[in-house]
């Protein structure tokens, strides 16, 4: 595991002699040892897109099964596994890590930092997430995928009712990805608080950073709750604990409460990054500042805070008392207010602007209109009596896909198009981007629009088949066709990526500021150099980058004071001292699934898992702060700040 190093290094640099750090470099070795937040961001993005495609294939299978009455494509058992894994994959392995990709890549850049507070922990978060994602999907090969729904309601997830190992993979796998989320959240929380550029007060942070910050706080407090729920499930299944054993007087609603105490903040964990992204995109393309920055920030905080008081609206028919239903019904209704404020503020930002409908902007407007539909159907669920008709029908499926697909996936695609040049140094093709958007919009509405009707006509959720004669046939067929149109739009995106990469090969990177953007990350060249900023800028205002480019003349007209090329740094600084790569995050991450497999199949397997984990932890601690053999630049002022700014944990 260690490089052989010929040069001499001091005892101080290599405390235990063996735990050296790998050198930076190129190729796969660089990727698996990297602690660079940008590379980790890219890894998150790639892994998330991979799982997004897997989850999408599962969605297509679901739609094929339901295209016609009495469908036989999957069969009941397989259908239950596929819909469970579709939910688990899309939420935990696609949407959350895609948001994490943006958080990792952009938070340090937007606040003017060289990296996150704990670069190695950051790498660990990614590898642990990936290990968890692979672990859950291993269940397909090792005895069947989870079949109790992503919500895993007890006691249907107990060994009697779900005897395959699927739910064990679910409980342990989500626990593993939960570790990743929690560690990453603590890391980014500290980063936002502690590593802002001089002058960047909290209220000069871009809205995206703010929203991502709220998300990290939500994760910090929500992950332990699902962790406990999953522990209870795991102990029940593995060791015969009686948390959900109703024969002994246990209450099956315990799981539901714990799950949704986590689950509702989770909705905002998913949606706020997208809100943040479009809050960056819309002002840029409207050529106006965001309307009501303070309101945007505070409504984000309010959503995050109120998200803790509405969880039981998932349980209006579960048998909780009428007083609880009334209370949660009211709290749910009023969470619509801060969300509504956001939508109106985005509209006000565009209003009176000179709006360029480039592809990131199209996707953002898509978020506004599609999320509005999801939000409004959400209000109809808040009417708890009406929810007794709607819940667990396709009306709910329609609702949350308008929120999650319309509100989140569209936003994340806006982000992909917007920051692609930032990350890779070339633009994605605009024309294909627009086609991508329109195809996705049509496919999305064809798939999920009819589900409102199906739900109101009484089609239950999570059914693997339905009989003819209930009026479900036509709309199901439309939805299935729509789902393939969505698949086509994702294919268009992938083709766009491939052709754009090919087109850009051999050409110089695109300019530093393709969109006339506003925030700090665009002050570095495209693609971002390894050290981010040549010199940490001092921030004077919100939209610092924009204000360095544009000023006002005597008549109040906006005039250019500098070109983007002048404002942007050259990215040519040398000798910037960056945290060194490390093997141990990856080694640690490999240990966890082994531990999990050991718990499920054979306790002996936990031994190598445990050894890897303990070794990795101790090696990590005793690993020198820096690569003793790595290049050391001249220590001028800026460099001091870097080595101090990024801690060694």
């Amino acid at each position: 595991m260690t490089d052989t190093i010929s040069e001499e290094v001091t005892e101080e640099q290599r405390p235990l002699g063996v735990y050296t750090r790998p050198k930076g470099g190129n190729g796969w070795r660089d990727w698996i040892t990297t602690v660079d937040h940008k590379k980790i961001g890219i890894l998150y993005g790639a892994a998330a897109l991979f799982f997004f495609i897997i989850g999408g294939i599962e969605a297509l299978l679901i739609r094929l099964q339901l295209a016609t009455p009495n469908g036989t494509v999957l069969g009941a058992d397989m259908y239950n596994q596929v819909f469970t894994m579709h939910g688990v994959t899309m939420i935990f392995l696609a949407a959350m890590p895609l948001a994490a990709a943006f958080a990792n890549y952009l938070i340090p850049l937007q606040i003017g930092a060289r990296d996150v507070a704990f670069p190695r922990l950051n790498a660990m978060s990614f590898w642990v997430f990936l290990a968890g994602g692979i672990f859950i999907n291993l269940s397909w090969l090792l005895g069947g995928a989870p079949d109790g729904g992503w919500f895993g309601y007890a006691p249907n997830t107990g060994v009697i009712f779900s005897p395959s190992v699927g739910m064990d993979f679910y409980a342990i796998g989500l626990q593993i990805t939960g570790i990743a989320s929690l560690v990453s959240a603590i890391n980014l929380t500290v980063t936002v608080l502690n590593m802002r550029a001089p002058g960047m007060t909290l209220f000069k942070m871009p809205v995206l950073t703010w929203m991502l910050f709220v998300v990290q706080l939500l994760l910090v407090f929500a992950m332990p709750v699902i962790a406990v729920a999953l522990f209870l499930l795991m102990f029940s299944r593995q060791f015969g604990a009686n948390f959900f054993n109703t024969e002994m007087g246990a209450d099956p609603l315990l799981w539901q409460h714990l799950f949704w105490i986590f689950g509702h903040p989770e909705v905002y964990i998913l949606v706020l990054p997208s809100f943040g992204i479009i809050s960056e995109v819309i002002p840029t393309f409207s050529r106006k500042p965001i309307f009501g920055y303070d309101f945007m920030v505070f409504s984000g905080i309010a959503i995050g805070f109120m998200g803790w008081g509405v969880w039981a609206h998932h349980m209006f028919v579960s048998g909780i008392g009428p007083l609880s239903v009334a209370a949660f019904s009211l709290s749910t209704m009023f969470i619509a207010v801060p969300t509504g404020v956001k939508i109106l503020n985005w509209i006000a930002t565009m209003w009176g602007g000179r709006v360029k409908f480039s592809s990131p902007m199209l996707f953002s407007v898509g978020v506004i209109s599609m999320f509005t539909i999801g939000g409004l159907s959400g209000v109809t669920h808040a009417l708890s009596p009406a929810d007794t008709q709607q819940t667990d029908t396709y009306y709910i499926v329609a609702h949350f896909h308008y929120v999650i697909f319309g509100g989140i996936i569209f936003g994340l695609f806006a982000g992909l198009y917007f920051w692609w040049p930032k990350v890779f140094g070339h633009m994605l093709d605009e024309k294909m981007g627009k086609i991508n958007f329109w195809v996705m919009l049509v496919g999305f509405n064809m798939t999920f629009g009819p589900m409102h009707v199906l739900g109101l006509q009484g089609m239950s959720r999570r059914i693997d088949t339905y009989s003819p004669g209930f009026g479900f046939e036509a709309w199901n067929m439309v939805a299935t066709i729509g789902s393939f149109i969505i698949a086509l739009s994702v294919l268009i995106f992938l083709i766009n990526v491939v052709t754009s990469v090919k087109k850009a090969r051999g050409k110089p990177p695109c300019g530093p500021d393709p969109w006339d953007a506003r925030s700090l990350e665009w002050m570095t060249p495209n693609p971002t150099p390894e050290h981010n900023f040549d010199e940490i800028p001092t921030v004077e205002s919100l939209d610092e980058f924009w204000h360095r480019k544009w000023g006002t003349d005597d008549e109040g007209q906006i005039v250019r004071v500098a070109t983007a090329e002048e404002v942007c740094q050259k990215g040519t600084a040398t000798g910037v001292h960056l945290p060194s790569p490390s093997y141990w995050p990856l080694i640690f991450a490999i240990g966890l699934p082994l531990l999990g497999l050991g718990l499920i199949f054979n306790l002996w397997l936990t031994l190598p898992g445990g050894i890897l984990i303990v070794t990795a932890l101790y090696a990590w601690i005793f690993e020198p702060v820096d690569d003793p053999d790595g290049p050391h630049g001249d220590h001028h002022e800026v460099n001091e700040e870097i080595s101090e700014g990024a801690s060694d944990v």
Partner: protein
Amino acid sequence: MDTSETTTDVEEEHEHHEHPSDGKYMQIALILAIITAAEVATYFVHIGDALIPTLMVMMVVKFWIVAAWFMHLRFDSKMFTRFFVSGIVLAISVYFIFLTVFEFWTEG
């Protein structure tokens, strides 16, 4: 969630108050020991309806003493207190509602 306050974010004064002396720590530990003794005494001496409130008050006092003195929250940055208190307040309110929904308080 209360990190939204604007006033404290930059240049939070770097507090280096003198930490208590070892003797002071011993005194605090003595107080903790006395409260614990009082707590345990309630097991043997019956005080009726006042029992649970008394126990809760003593518990909170002990908690507060350890957090404030041993964990240095009294002397350290308010940011730390904020995160800890956020966690505690959120936990108490969420789980209080949780138990209320289960009609835990009325069941006795």
